[in-house]
């Protein structure tokens, strides 16, 4: 069947429905782990780290596969990652300022 997916310069073909469903299953699994560890008392000391890693993994999967950053031209990734870095820097700066992190 003919497709209407035009490849951009530096881009690759997008995945198919099976790959998307597989990614969604992984996302659902990671979400269930997030919720499960929240209720497990003996992981409390590492809870924040575990949650941040799981959240970052979910973020990466959606951005890479559903938003096609893994397959599209790298300029799009650069734009988005640039915004993300600015936002994270802003957050760290504000937290440092209000919590006197570096004093």
């Amino acid at each position: 069947m003919a497709t209407h997916q035009e490849l951009e310069p530096g881009g690759h073909a997008h995945p198919g429905a099976k790959e998307y469903v597989a990614v969604a299953v992984v996302l659902a699994f990671l979400t269930s782990i997030e919720v499960a560890v929240y209720y497990i008392d003996y992981v409390r000391p590492w809870l924040a780290h575990m949650l941040l890693v799981l959240s970052a993994a979910k973020f990466f999967l959606v951005a890479a596969f559903f938003m096609h950053l893994k397959f599209d031209n790298r300029l799009f990734s650069s734009l988005f990652v640039g915004g993300l870095i600015l936002a994270i820097s802003l957050g760290i700066s504000l937290l440092a300022l209000f919590h006197n992190l570096f004093v």
Binding site: A2, H4, E8, E34, S55, K58, F65, N73, G91
Partner: protein
């Protein structure tokens, strides 16, 4: 008539740029990058004032000035909402895959499914907000209420805008004005929708699950 069609085709090909990339897609990514800062500010503000409210209600169980407050969050409820929004990202990307292979029926089914899942999420958020309000949490009662409602409220507004975009696409498709060659329109809407999803991935972790 033929001249009009020819002009329309010519206009379609006028998007050639020095980068070889479609400007509309570049602009959407630039917008999403700027929206990162928008939500980054709100999430940072929530984290700065987290645990600094002199009075309840609190997100999780707490004691403030000798008064005990039950936690206001329902993690199982919000987990289901998060799952619903996550699955709407799947239906959105399936809608894009459908139009790219010229399957207009599939496109409409998946667009409708995405809009419905988005509506379930927004409806759930409305229920959550009203429940919190009845438990004494308002926009001005404490720092938690202010930062929580502003952050999640703006996210809910983004989801609502996304639903309107999805329904507009669905209507355009039903009117026969969304040819397979115009799949970029669906892709751009999808980018916005997935962005709203990734923002919720962060909010769900930072606001609901992360211990104070």
């Amino acid at each position: 008539m033929e001249h009009a069609v020819a002009s329309a085709h010519a206009a379609e090909h006028e998007h050639e740029t020095s980068t070889g990339l479609d400007n509309r897609k570049l602009v959407m990514w630039a917008f999403l990058a700027s929206d990162c800062l928008f939500f980054g500010s709100f999430i940072s503000t929530y984290m700065i004032y987290r645990g600094r409210s002199p009075t309840g209600p609190c997100p999780h169980e707490c004691v403030l000035n000798g008064v005990h407050y039950e936690g206001i969050f329902s993690i199982p409820y919000t987990s289901v909402s998060a799952f619903v929004l996550l699955m709407s990202s799947l239906t959105m990307v399936l809608a894009l895959a459908a139009i790219q292979r010229g399957d207009h029926r599939g496109l409409r089914v998946w667009l409708l499914a995405t809009a419905l899942l988005g509506s379930v999420f927004v409806g759930g958020q409305y229920f959550e907000f009203t429940t919190f309000y009845h438990h004494g949490l308002s926009l001005s009662v404490n720092l938690f209420g202010t930062t929580f409602f502003v952050l999640t409220g703006f996210h809910g507004a983004h989801v609502t805008v996304g639903i309107i975009m999805l329904l507009s696409l669905l209507l355009t498709s039903l009117l026969g004005r969304l040819p397979a060659s115009d799949s970029l329109t669906v892709e751009l809407t999808g980018l916005y929708w997935h962005f709203v999803d990734v923002v919720w991935i962060v909010i769900f972790t930072v606001v609901y699950l992360l211990p104070a």
